[in-house]
C-alpha cells in the first residue's frame, strides 16, 4: 500500500488491523478513506482466512469524525455520496460477521466514534475523549447514533446528543458506550496479545481483553455520570423547550451549580433547529433497529445539505471550522420559531427526483451485538 495512504492495514496471519492514517487532521474521514474502509471491511468479511479485525487510529486520535468542512462547500449530492458510504460502514460494523475490536485512543467524535461504537468490542483508555458535538455545528447526531445514544441508561443519550458533552474512557465504560477500559500503557500489549491469539472466538477475545483491563476505572469527581438523576428528570421531557425550563428550575433550586449552567449554556449555544431534530431523531431511534435509524438519519442529513429549510449547518461550519469566529448566527434564532412542520420536513423523503432513501446491503448477521453493555 502506498505510504501516503489514508488507511493502512496490517496483516498478522488471521488478524487484520485497519489503521486510520491522517494524523495531522486527527484522522478525520474523507471520501477516499470512507471508500477504502468500505472495501476493506467487505473484503475481510468475505475472506475465510480473516478471523479478527482490529481498528485503530494513527497518532493522537482515533478519529475526529467526518471531514464536514469539506462537505459544506460541495453540492448536496456530493455530500449525499459521502454519507451513504459512511452510513453503510456503520451498518457493516453493527452487523459484522467477523469478530471486531476497536482500540480507541484519544479523540473519537461524531462519525469517528460511530466506527467503533457500533462494533462488538469497544476498548477505551485513559486519554479517550468521546463526543457527539453536532448540534453546536448546526447538524445532528447521525452515523447511527440515534440507535446507540437512545440505548444508554435513562436519558443520558439525549443529554450527550443534545449538549455535545465530552465523555472520558471511564464514563464511556460506565454508560455502556465502551465494553472495556484498558490502561494506556497496556494497550499495545493487548494488541499484540490479540494478534498472537489468532482467533475469532468472541469468548476468547473477551477473556483476553478482560485480562488487560481495569474493571473499575474511577469516575472523575465532576463526572457527568454522577448527574444521571438530574439528567433523567430534565432530559426526559417532551420537548427541547421543556428540557431547558426543567434545567432552569433545577438551577434556581441549587444556586451556583456549574454543571447545570454549563448544560444550559451548551443548549443555548446550539442551533435551535438542530436541537429539535436531534431530540426527535434520538427518540425515534429508541424504537427502531440500527438499519431504520441510518435510513432516517440519511433523510435528515440530505435535507440539511439541501439547505431548503434551514442553513444552520453551513453557518455552523463557517463559524466553527472556517472563519473560526465561534459566533454562528442561527436562523431561526429561537426554539419557538422552529415549527413542527419544519422539523417534520427533515423526517420525510426528499422532494427531489434524483434522490432516494439510503439503500443498505442485506446482511447475514443481524444479531444485536450493538446493544450497549449496561
Amino acid at each position: 500500500m502506498a505510504p501516503t495512504s489514508q488507511v493502512l492495514t496490517k496483516h498478522s496471519s488471521n488478524v487484520r488491523t485497519i489503521i486510520l492514517n491522517r494524523p495531522q487532521q486527527l484522522n478525520a474521514l474523507t471520501l477516499e478513506m470512507v471508500s477504502q474502509l468500505l472495501e476493506l471491511l467487505n473484503a475481510y468479511e468475505e475472506d475465510p482466512s480473516v478471523k479478527l479485525v482490529i481498528m485503530k487510529g494513527e497518532g493522537r486520535a482515533f478519529c475526529a469524525g467526518g471531514d464536514v468542512a469539506a462537505l459544506a462547500n460541495g453540492s448536496w449530492k456530493q455530500g449525499a455520496v459521502f454519507f451513504s458510504r459512511a452510513y453503510t460502514i456503520d451498518y457493516l460494523v453493527a452487523t459484522y460477521a467477523k469478530t471486531q475490536v476497536s482500540l480507541i485512543r484519544g479523540i473519537a467524535m461524531g462519525g469517528g466514534a460511530a466506527l467503533a461504537i457500533h462494533g462488538r468490542f469497544r476498548v477505551v483508555t485513559d486519554n479517550t475523549l468521546f463526543a457527539m458535538p453536532e448540534t453546536a455545528l448546526g447538524s445532528f447526531p447521525d452515523v447511527g447514533s440515534s440507535y446507540y445514544l437512545s440505548r444508554l441508561p435513562g436519558f443520558f443519550g439525549e443529554y450527550v446528543g443534545l449538549t455535545g458533552a465530552r465523555l472520558d474512557g471511564a464514563e464511556m465504560l460506565a454508560c455502556g458506550l465502551a465494553t472495556h477500559f484498558v490502561p494506556l500503557e497496556k494497550l499495545s500489549l493487548l494488541e499484540d496479545a490479540l494478534c498472537k491469539a489468532n482467533t475469532g472466538d468472541p469468548e476468547i477475545i473477551n477473556n483476553i481483553i478482560h485480562d488487560f483491563s481495569n474493571k473499575n476505572p474511577k469516575l472523575k469527581e465532576k463526572s457527568h455520570y454522577f448527574r444521571l438523576k438530574t439528567i433523567n428528570s430534565c432530559f426526559s421531557r417532551r420537548t427541547v423547550e421543556e428540557i431547558i425550563s426543567a434545567l432552569e428550575e433545577e438551577e434556581a433550586d441549587r444556586n451556583m451549580d456549574d454543571w447545570i449552567s454549563w448544560t444550559i449554556q451548551a443548549l443555548k449555544k446550539a442551533s435551535p433547529t438542530s436541537l429539535k431534530i436531534s431530540l426527535r431523531s434520538i427518540r425515534a431511534g429508541r424504537l427502531q433497529g440500527v438499519r431504520q435509524c441510518l435510513i432516517r438519519e440519511y433523510r435528515i442529513f440530505c435535507t440539511i445539505l439541501q439547505g431548503k429549510v434551514c442553513k444552520d449547518f453551513f453557518e455552523g461550519c463557517r463559524a466553527l471550522l472556517l472563519d473560526k469566529d465561534k459566533n454562528p448566527k442561527w436562523e431561526p434564532s429561537k426554539l419557538e420559531l422552529v415549527s413542527k412542520q419544519m422539523v417534520d420536513s427533515y423526517f420525510a423523503p426528499l422532494d427531489d427526483e434524483d434522490w432516494e432513501d439510503l439503500k443498505l446491503p442485506v446482511r447475514p448477521n443481524l444479531t444485536s451485538y450493538a446493544i450497549s453493555k449496561l
Binding site: 437512545s150 441508561p153 435513562g154 436519558f155 469468548e203 433523567n232 428528570s233 426526559s236 421531557r237 417532551r238 421543556e242 426527535r280 427518540r283 425515534a284 429508541r286 424504537l287 427502531q288 433497529g289 423523503p349 442485506v362 446482511r363 447475514p364 443481524l366 444479531t367 444485536s368 451485538y369 446493544i371
Partner: protein, 672 residues
C-alpha cells in the same frame, strides 16, 4: 451398572464446560434462527406512511410515552436473545402488581406526561388524551385502566357532568394526583341496567347536605377500579329522592379516604379479590352508611337542587336527562376500542413474526422443514385476522375523529358508532389473541410471550362499559328508531350511513367471479344489501309483535336474533365505508395496492364467516364456494406482505415478545 460410576458420569455431564456445548452445537445440524427481515422480501411500500394511516397525528405523542416506559427500570426491562423487552412481572402477588401500577403512574406523572390534562382544548386535546391512554395500555392493560379510571371516568365525570365550581376545585388536584379518583356506578345487583341501581341519596335542607346510603347488599358498589387501595374520592351514581319523589340517577362526589389513605367514616370498603387478569388494578366494593356530603358535590350540569331543597332541571324528560349523564362513558368506549386494536397488533405481530422463523415438517425427505406461514392453513388462520385488524383500526380512528369533533347533533351517531365498534373490535381482539396463541403452539403459553396471557388481561373489555351483546341490540333499536322516524316524516333517511336505503336495492350478480369479489362496487353492494334487508326484516318482525299488542320491552327480548344480525351488518358496512375513505386518501402506488388487497380480504372473509349471507340468501351456495376459494387466493397474495404489514403497526420491538425475535438465543443454556 455401578451406581457410583453412573452418578459420576451424570455429574460430569452436568459440569461439562460451556466450550464443549458449543462444539457439540457446531458439529450437529441444529435448528437455527433466521430473522424474518433476512428471509422475507423487503417492503414494497412505505411502512411509515402506513403507520401514519393507523396512528395519524398522534404518532409522536405515542412514541414519547413509549420512550418514557422503555427507559425506566420500573417497567421491568429484561434481555432475551440480545434484545431488551419490557413487560410487567406477572409473577408478583396481586398487592405487588397494584403497587407497581401506581408507581408507574407516579413516574409518568413526574415526567410531566399528564401535565395540562384538562387544559388541552378541542379535538387536539382529546386526541392527545387518547394517545396517552392507548400507549400505556400497550405496555400493560392494568396501567391503561388505572389511568383511564382516574382521568377519563373520574376526570370525565367532573368535566362533563360537573360545572365550573367542580372544574375549579378538582381539575388541578386530579392532574397532580393529590386526589385519586374512582367511578362508582356498577353495583352487585345492577351493571348494564344503570337506571336500576339501588343506592339512594336524599337531601337534608336543614344542613344543606346530601345523604348517600346503600340500602341493601345488592346496592353495594362493585368492581370499582381504584377503590380497594388507592382512591381518595369517587363519583357516586345514585337515585336522587327529593321530597319523596325519585328524580332518577344522579352523580355526586364523595371522599372515601383521607390524605393518609385511611377509609373515611360512614364508608366501608372491601376488595374484589384476585381476578383472571388485570390484577394491577385494585377493584373494590363500597358501602355508604348515610354518608353526608355538601350540596355542592352534586354534579349539576344537567340538574341541581337548590339550598332549600327544590329540584331544578332544564331537561324535563328523565330519559334525555339520563342520556346526558352517560356522556363520559362514550370516551371510555373510544379508548377501549382503540386499545383493543393495539393488543390485537401485539398478538399478530408476535404470531406472524414467529411463523416467519419457525419451521415444522419437511414436505420431501432431506429438504428443510417448511416455515409455518408457508402452510396455506396457517395463512388462513392469521392473514384474514391481519387484514381485519387494519380494517377495524381504521374504523377505530374514524370513531375517534367523530368523537373529538362531536356536536350536539352528532351525539346520537357517536353513541351508536361507539357501541357498535366497542363490541366488534373487542370481540375481534379476543378471537385474534386465541388464534395467535394457538398459532404459536406451546410458546404461546409462556407468559413472557404475551399472546396467551393477554387473553385474560383483556377479556374484561367485552363486558365493561357496556356488555357487547347488549350493545349490539342497542344498535338495532337505534336503527329501527331512525327508520321509523324517517318514515313518519315521510322523508329520506339520513345519517349513520343509512342513505343507501333511499336508493333501489343493489343487484348481486348470479355468478360471482374472483374479479367481481374484488370490486368496491360489489363489496359495498352486498354489505348494503344485507343491512337493508335485515333492517326491513327487523321492522316487520317488530311491527308484527306490536300488532299483537306486545310491549316494546317484550318485543326486544324476543327479536334478539335479527337484532344481533342487524347490529353486525351495520358494523361491517360502516367498517367497509371507513376503509374506503382511508383508501381514497392514498395516492396510486404500491401502498394503495396492498390496501386494496387487504380490503378484499376483509370483505371476503366476512362473506365467508358470517352465516347471515347464506342464511338469508344474499349468497347462493355456489357463490359461497367461489368466496371460499377466493379466501385461499387472497391469503397467498397477502403472504409476501405479512412482515411489512406487522412492521407497519409501529409496536416497538421492546413491547413484543422473545418468540417474535431470536427465540433460539432467548432460550439458550447461556441465557439461563
Amino acid at each position: 451398572m455401578d451406581r457410583v460410576n453412573f452418578r459420576t458420569q451424570i455429574l460430569t455431564r452436568h459440569l461439562q464446560t460451556h466450550q464443549t456445548t458449543t462444539d457439540l452445537l457446531n458439529t450437529a445440524p441444529c435448528v437455527s434462527y433466521t430473522p424474518p427481515e433476512l428471509s422475507e422480501p423487503s417492503p414494497n411500500f412505505d411502512t411509515t406512511s402506513l403507520r401514519k394511516l393507523l396512528d395519524g397525528q398522534s404518532v409522536e405523542d405515542i412514541d414519547y410515552i413509549f420512550n418514557l416506559m422503555i427507559q425506566s427500570n420500573l417497567f421491568c426491562p429484561r434481555e432475551r436473545g440480545g434484545k431488551v423487552f419490557i413487560a410487567p412481572d406477572f409473577n408478583q402477588s396481586m398487592e405487588q402488581q397494584r403497587e407497581m401500577t401506581m408507581r408507574r403512574i407516579d413516574y409518568l406523572r413526574e415526567k410531566g406526561a399528564f401535565d395540562g390534562w384538562f387544559d388541552r382544548k378541542g379535538p387536539e386535546g382529546d386526541l392527545w388524551r387518547f394517545a396517552q391512554a392507548e400507549s400505556v395500555s400497550v405496555f400493560d392493560h392494568s396501567l391503561g385502566i388505572k389511568l383511564g379510571v382516574h382521568f377519563f371516568l373520574w376526570g370525565g365525570a367532573i368535566r362533563f357532568m360537573g360545572t365550573k365550581r367542580h372544574h375549579d376545585k378538582w381539575y388541578k388536584p386530579t392532574e397532580t394526583y393529590e386526589v385519586k379518583g374512582c367511578f362508582a356506578m356498577t353495583e352487585l345487583g345492577h351493571g348494564s341496567n344503570v337506571r336500576g341501581i339501588e343506592t339512594i341519596t336524599r337531601y337534608d335542607a336543614s344542613t344543606g347536605e346530601f345523604i348517600i346510603n346503600t340500602p341493601c347488599e345488592s346496592a353495594q358498589k362493585y368492581w370499582i377500579g381504584g377503590a380497594a387501595n388507592h382512591a381518595t374520592h369517587t363519583v357516586v351514581f345514585s337515585q336522587l329522592e327529593i321530597s319523596g319523589v325519585n328524580q332518577g340517577v344522579h352523580a355526586f362526589i364523595a371522599q372515601i379516604r383521607d390524605e393518609n389513605g385511611n377509609v373515611c367514616p360512614n364508608i366501608r370498603i372491601a376488595d374484589c379479590g384476585h381476578k383472571i387478569g388485570l390484577n394491577g388494578v385494585d377493584n373494590g366494593r363500597i358501602w355508604f352508611d348515610n354518608l353526608r356530603i355538601p350540596r355542592e358535590n352534586l354534579l349539576n350540569s344537567v340538574a341541581d337542587v337548590s339550598p332549600d331543597g327544590q329540584y331544578l332541571s332544564a331537561i324535563k324528560d328523565p330519559d334525555q336527562r339520563f342520556a346526558a349523564f352517560l356522556a363520559p362513558l362514550t370516551s371510555g368506549r373510544v379508548t377501549i376500542a382503540a386499545s383493543s386494536m393495539n393488543t390485537t397488533k401485539i398478538g399478530l405481530a408476535t404470531a406472524i413474526r414467529y411463523s416467519l422463523s419457525r419451521r415444522a415438517f419437511s414436505i420431501r425427505p432431506n429438504e428443510p422443514e417448511v416455515l409455518l406461514l408457508d402452510y396455506p392453513s396457517h395463512q388462513r388462520r392469521l392473514l384474514p385476522l391481519l387484514a381485519k385488524t387494519y380494517a377495524l383500526s381504521f374504523a377505530s380512528n374514524y370513531l375517534k375523529m367523530i368523537y373529538v369533533k362531536r356536536t350536539p347533533e352528532s351525539i346520537k351517531t357517536v353513541h351508536v358508532v361507539s357501541s357498535a365498534l366497542k363490541a366488534v373490535l373487542t370481540w375481534h381482539c379476543m378471537r385474534t389473541l386465541q388464534e395467535c396463541r394457538e398459532a404459536c403452539g406451546g410458546q404461546g403459553i409462556k407468559t413472557e410471550n404475551h399472546v396467551g396471557h393477554l387473553k385474560s388481561e383483556y377479556d374484561v373489555q367485552l363486558t365493561f362499559e357496556g356488555d357487547n351483546n347488549v350493545l349490539m341490540q342497542q344498535i338495532s333499536k337505534a336503527l329501527l328508531a331512525e327508520f321509523l322516524a324517517a318514515k313518519k316524516r315521510n322523508k329520506p333517511i339520513r345519517g349513520l350511513g343509512l342513505e343507501h336505503l333511499n336508493k333501489p336495492a343493489p343487484i348481486i350478480p348470479t355468478h360471482l367471479t374472483s374479479s367481481t369479489l374484488r370490486t368496491t362496487q360489489f363489496q359495498t353492494d352486498i354489505f348494503c344489501l344485507r343491512e337493508r334487508d335485515l333492517l326491513h326484516r327487523f321492522v316487520t318482525e317488530v311491527s308484527q309483535y306490536q300488532s299483537q299488542g306486545e310491549s316494546k320491552e317484550h318485543i326486544f327480548t324476543v327479536t334478539y336474533q335479527t337484532a344481533e344480525d342487524l347490529g353486525r351488518a351495520f358494523s361491517d358496512r360502516l367498517i367497509l365505508q371507513t376503509y374506503l375513505d382511508v383508501e381514497a386518501t392514498v395516492p396510486e402506488g404500491p401502498l394503495k395496492s396492498v390496501l386494496g388487497l387487504m380490503r378484499s380480504m376483509y370483505t371476503t372473509i366476512v362473506l365467508e364467516e358470517d352465516a347471515s349471507f347464506l342464511r338469508y340468501g344474499y349468497l347462493s351456495t355456489d357463490n359461497a364456494a367461489v368466496v371460499r376459494k377466493e379466501v385461499l387466493k387472497l391469503c397467498s397474495e397477502l403472504r409476501p406482505h405479512a412482515l411489512s404489514l406487522v412492521s407497519s403497526f409501529g409496536i416497538p420491538d421492546a413491547f413484543l415478545a422473545p418468540i417474535a425475535f431470536n427465540w433460539v438465543d432467548a432460550n439458550a443454556w447461556s441465557s439461563v
